[in-house]
């Protein structure tokens, strides 16, 4: 009789609804701890890319599938060799509905961590040491972020609407005062602007026109940083995505192509002349610049194999030559590479696998020789990585 009652109580405990707890971070030891310090006292002169004296760890932003509200933040700690999954809830237990829906970009600037949360229409601003929330900036359909001086610049698809049969909607770049977290100015650019880069007093914005199938944008917008007005357009190729500046005054611009006649490709634009100087015939989904090396991966649908064809490689930004085709050398198979980063000190390569977009993803770490060092489960659609460290004074 007693056991029956116990069984009933147990049954009720299992069968009944419980309050859902805020997620506690899950810690996984994935590697031996290491201290990443650059012993060279002097930084190379005149580099645009960040140079670190010490790298403590990196944040990884998981996008989460649209509508799932499952964008999450993970952190890798080098000194402990620990991967800490889902840190936002614990750092900010009182924020309703957590980090938000579809994280699209992540950056550290001035001791703060900025996460661009696309479908939550906001930039989440956090302390870069603790991931504690400082505030948010509301920008509808925000995409990518860059910084200059006291301002952050964010691209958004949600510019002014032209009500017509075609329903045109230009995008814009928002200028955010990082001190007040207010949008202080906007500059209208092309349709559906994605990546942006700041070089030589100008903002270069990759217009995609991604909402306009068969009528994509094909230009970079040049915006004057001072007047914050669009100066001109640089024609490149349809459906531009990422744009990044290397240490040689060159912008590397990826084009998605139009999915029909024009293939995806990587373009090089000289900042001095504001003209396309070269192109590399590879389909690039995303890339990471480290010194003179441009690490890229590309996924292109093949109607021959009826599958994604995945390519990896390294381009020397000085010679524009592909110096490596495939930086994974141990046969590790990644189903859907979705994010890339290179450790500025060890040159280890971090690649994320978004798999089928709904299952938890995986983060892989490869050594510079292309051998897998470790891998770890992430959140859904692991995508954007930002290193935390102490930059070198130049």
């Amino acid at each position: 009789m007693h056991s029956k009652i116990r069984f009933l109580i147990l049954l009720l405990c299992v069968a009944c609804r419980h309050d859902t707890e805020v997620f506690l971070p899950e810690v996984e030891k994935v590697a031996e701890g290491e201290v990443l310090v650059d012993s060279a006292s002097q930084a190379a002169s005149n580099t645009f890319l960040p140079v670190y004296e010490r790298v403590e760890g990196f944040y990884l932003l998981n996008e989460g599938n649209m509508g799932s509200n499952k964008s999450t933040l993970d952190y890798y700690d080098f000194s402990a060799g620990q991967y800490i999954r889902n840190i936002y809830g614990n750092a900010n237990p009182h924020v309703p509905k957590e980090l938000g829906d579809v994280g699209n970009d992540l950056a550290i600037y001035g001791g703060r961590l900025y996460a661009v949360i696309n479908c939550s229409n906001k930039i989440e601003v956090m302390n870069s040491q603790t991931a504690e929330r400082i505030g948010q900036v509301d920008i509808p359909n925000c995409r990518y972020i860059r910084f200059s001086g006291r301002y952050a610049y964010v691209t958004s698809y949600a510019g002014p609407v032209v009500i017509s049969d075609e329903y045109k909607q230009r995008g814009y770049v928002a200028r955010i005062d990082t001190a007040t977290l207010q949008v202080v100015d906007t500059c209208v650019v092309g349709f559906q602007p994605d990546g942006l880069e700041i070089a030589d007093g100008k903002i270069y914005v990759a217009n995609s026109g991604g909402y306009r199938v068969n009528n994509y944008e094909h230009t970079l917008s040049v915006v004057d940083l001072q007047s914050f007005r669009e100066l001109r357009r640089i024609p490149v190729s349809p459906n531009l995505h990422h744009v990044r500046l290397d240490n040689h005054g060159q912008l590397w611009v990826s084009s998605r192509g139009d999915y029909f006649a024009v293939p995806a490709k990587l373009y090089c634009v000289a900042v001095s002349t504001e003209e396309v100087t070269d192109s590399v015939d590879v389909a690039v989904s995303d890339f990471w610049l480290d010194g003179d090396s441009l690490y890229f991966y590309g996924t292109a649908w093949s109607y021959v194999s009826m599958d994604d064809e995945i390519t990896y490689g390294i381009i020397d930004v000085k010679t524009h030559q592909i110096v490596s085709r495939g930086f994974i050398t141990d046969g590790t198979v990644i189903k859907k590479p979705y994010g890339i980063a290179v450790n500025p000190l060890t040159k280890d390569i971090y690649l994320t696998d978004a798999k089928n977009y709904v299952n938890p993803g995986t983060l892989y770490c490869f050594d510079p020789a292309g051998k897998k060092k470790w891998s770890v489960r992430t959140g859904d659609i692991p995508a954007h990585i930002a290193f935390r460290g102490i930059p070198k004074k130049q």
Partner: protein, 657 residues
């Protein structure tokens, strides 16, 4: 013989007035009797008064009371509701409205929230198929079938018309009048006309809450569901005729709605602005006639559907698309009784579907489907068997693709045996498949023309026990254990906030092991007191065997329970009647589940359960009822980030003469 089978199969009929139930049963005997005696797999059924007693406004709500069923419900008055039976997926279910399948070649999903219960007489669910030999090939083809049957005119002695008006009003700003007029024109011809209007603001409070590990509140937020407003209008007219040794009926159906799509509740987004306009029209007819041992059934249908979807949200992709679907269908079924024990049937169907959309790069697909079925039933004493084979030949033609052809043969075998009069044992094996839909294949940017058909294989064993104890107590219990396998599963992941847009993935293999248990009992307690009690329980282990490499025991999807399928679910319905009074209590339980087959904490969903109560009173031609649903005001999601309504109420007035 036929009479007793039907009587046992429909307990609820006893709750109706004597005149009514006799009429229904007699009619049933005339129309269906010759075939029903060979029913091998019993249906789960909700009929007449039983259906009316439940707090349900749409077919989708009512279907939750069947075992083996999971309803995907996006919440609110106009929220999408699709049914998944035994975890094989919505697209494997055939939903039939007055005998002919409701189609949706575009996405294959029948939104059961659109079908009001106002004029519905019965809902039946068959696992496998209805073991009626005279049926269309489409009746044979699906993995399981739901039959929605609207009320057919019945007239009391000496009366040649029925008029009924009703008004429902309640939470969410619902105002829902309806009108029914039935006329007997001659002994051979009746007509029915029914119309309904619904308006609702769709607003309701919902609450999300999280706690810290010590149980204290971390955050707690309450908001009002926005953009769930709805306006809908339905018109149905039918003619019901008798022939010498036969019957025919013809009907037209029109439904239109204009509704907001409330969307997912995510951080910083508490309101959406998507809208949808629907027009659904169909005209269909059915004729059955017998000549001695030969019986013929003809079915025909023409359907036209219009869907206008608008996403005017200036912060995201502007979408303004119109989809038009056309369907034409014809079926010829032939049945011949070789002898009293042995029947054979041959059926042929043809269906045409076309989809037209104003999407960029759209390919305007058209599909021709030929189906045929050859079936036989055999009855030998207490043993019954039914076997059939279905051939499906379909080809698609589009503006840019060559014809895509599919040709498949799928067999099925059903057996039953009655060792003693109270117990019936059964077993079946069935293969079926579903075609990729037009969206799966051709939707611009999402569609994947390399998709394969999705296969389902079912093995089922079960038993039914029926017993009557004296005059006052009747009991029926059913138990079924089954193993299903779904191969080449096409998985739809919602893309964006629009509920009908998906991203297609032809992944998958699912193995489902399940047990359905149901028990139904009726007591005539004292003079004038009647108690009905129905219990349903479902256990399902539906495991994902898609990706053998994703096999981490703690977090891998390999072997994980598939999305939104609880291990345990069930329902309890109690109905008490005393003279003019009726009290109904219903409880639905859906156990813990995951919204992804990676069964990790982040994907975990808590159980939910609702208690609904309804009180009714009637005198002659007037009936009043009041229902209170989700009595304990539980706050839950059926689908992640789509909050369901808390406590809500409705009152119903019906007047007929």
């Amino acid at each position: 013989m036929a009479f007793t089978v039907i009587c046992a199969g429909s307990l609820a009929a006893t709750a109706q007035t004597v005149v009514d139930s006799t009429a229904i049963k007699l009619d049933d005997v005339v129309v269906w009797g010759s075939t029903n005696r060979k029913e091998i797999v019993p249906a789960q059924r909700l009929i007449g008064a039983e259906l009316e007693a439940l707090s349900s406004s749409s077919v989708g709500d009512a279907i939750r009371y069947f075992s083996g069923v999971q309803l995907k419900d996006y919440g609110g008055v106009g929220g999408l509701k699709t049914v998944d039976v035994r975890s094989m997926g919505t697209n494997h279910m055939g939903v039939f409205y007055d005998g002919i399948q409701l189609g949706n070649a575009q996405n294959g999903q029948v939104d059961l929230s659109k079908f009001s219960l106002d004029n519905v007489e019965s809902i039946s669910l068959y696992n496998g198929q209805k073991s009626d030999i005279l049926q269309s090939a489409k009746d044979y083809a699906a993995a399981g079938v739901i039959y929605i049957r609207t009320r057919r005119p019945q007239f009391a002695e000496g009366k040649n018309y029925n008029v009924r008006a009703s008004l429902k009003a309640g939470s969410f700003g619902v105002i829902n009048p309806s009108f029914l007029w039935e006329q007997k024109w001659s002994a051979r011809l009746n007509s029915s006309f029914n119309t309904e209007y619904l308006t609702a603001t769709g607003k309701y409070k919902f609450r999300y809450r999280r706690v810290l590990s010590d149980g204290s509140t971390a955050w707690d937020t309450t908001a009002i569901r926005q953009n769930g407003d709805m306006e809908a209008f339905r018109l149905e007219g039918g003619l019901f005729g008798r022939l010498n040794d036969g019957v025919w009926n013809a009907k037209v159906y029109y439904y239109t709605s204009n509704k907001g799509i409330p969307g997912a509740i995510v951080n910083n987004v508490w309101k959406t602005s998507q809208r949808q306009w629907d027009h659904n029209f169909f005209a269909q007819g059915q004729m059955k006639k017998s000549w001695g041992r030969y019986e013929l059934m003809l079915n025909g249908k023409f359907a036209w559907d219009y869907l206008h979807y608008l996403s005017p949200d200036t912060t995201s992709l502007y979408i303004n698309n119109v989809f038009r679907q056309t369907e034409a269908y014809i079926s010829v079924a032939n049945h011949y009784s070789l002898c009293d024990q042995w029947d054979v049937a041959v059926t042929a169907d043809y269906q045409f579907n076309a989809l037209n959309a104003d999407l960029a790069n759209f390919v305007y697909p058209k599909r021709h489907t030929f189906l045929w079925a050859a079936a036989s039933t055999f009855e030998w004493g207490r043993f019954k068997a039914m076997g059939n084979v279905i051939g499906t030949h379909a080809f698609d033609v589009t503006d840019v693709h060559r014809a895509q052809c599919v040709g498949k043969l799928t067999p099925a075998l059903f057996l039953s045996f009655q060792p003693v009069s109270a117990i019936t044992l059964r077993a079946y094996y069935k293969q079926s498949f579903r075609q990729p839909t037009f969206n799966d294949l051709y939707y611009t940017d999402i569609g994947n023309i390399s998709l394969e058909p999705e296969f389902a294989t079912q093995y089922n064993v079960g038993a039914t026990c029926q017993k009557r104890f004296g005059q006052s107590w009747h009991f029926e219990g059913k138990v079924d254990a089954y193993f299903n396998k779904v191969d080449n599963k096409i998985v739809a992941i919602p893309k964006g906030s629009g509920q009908y847009r998906w991203m297609m993935m032809n992944i998958g293999k699912v193995k489902i092991l399940g047990v359905d248990v149901s028990a139904q009992t009726e007591w005539n307690l004292l003079k004038d007191w009647t108690l009905n009690l129905t219990l349903n329980y479902t256990y399902q282990r539906a495991r994902d065997y898609t990706d053998p490499t994703d096999n981490d025991p703690a977090s891998g999807t390999w072997g994980g329970q598939i999305a939104y399928i609880p291990w345990h679910s069930g329902s309890v319905v109690g109905n008490l009647r005393y003279k003019r009074w009726m009290l109904n209590y219903s409880f639905i339980y859906v156990g813990e589940r995951y919204h992804n087959s990676a069964n990790i904490r982040q994907n975990h969903e808590e159980p939910w359960y609702t208690h609904d109560v309804k009180v009714g009173w009637n005198i002659h031609s007037l009936s009043l009822s009041l229902e209170i649903n989700n009595l304990l005001n539980q706050q839950y999601d059926v689908v992640l980030n789509y909050p369901m309504p808390g406590r809500n109420w409705k009152c119903i007035v019906k007047y007929g003469f």
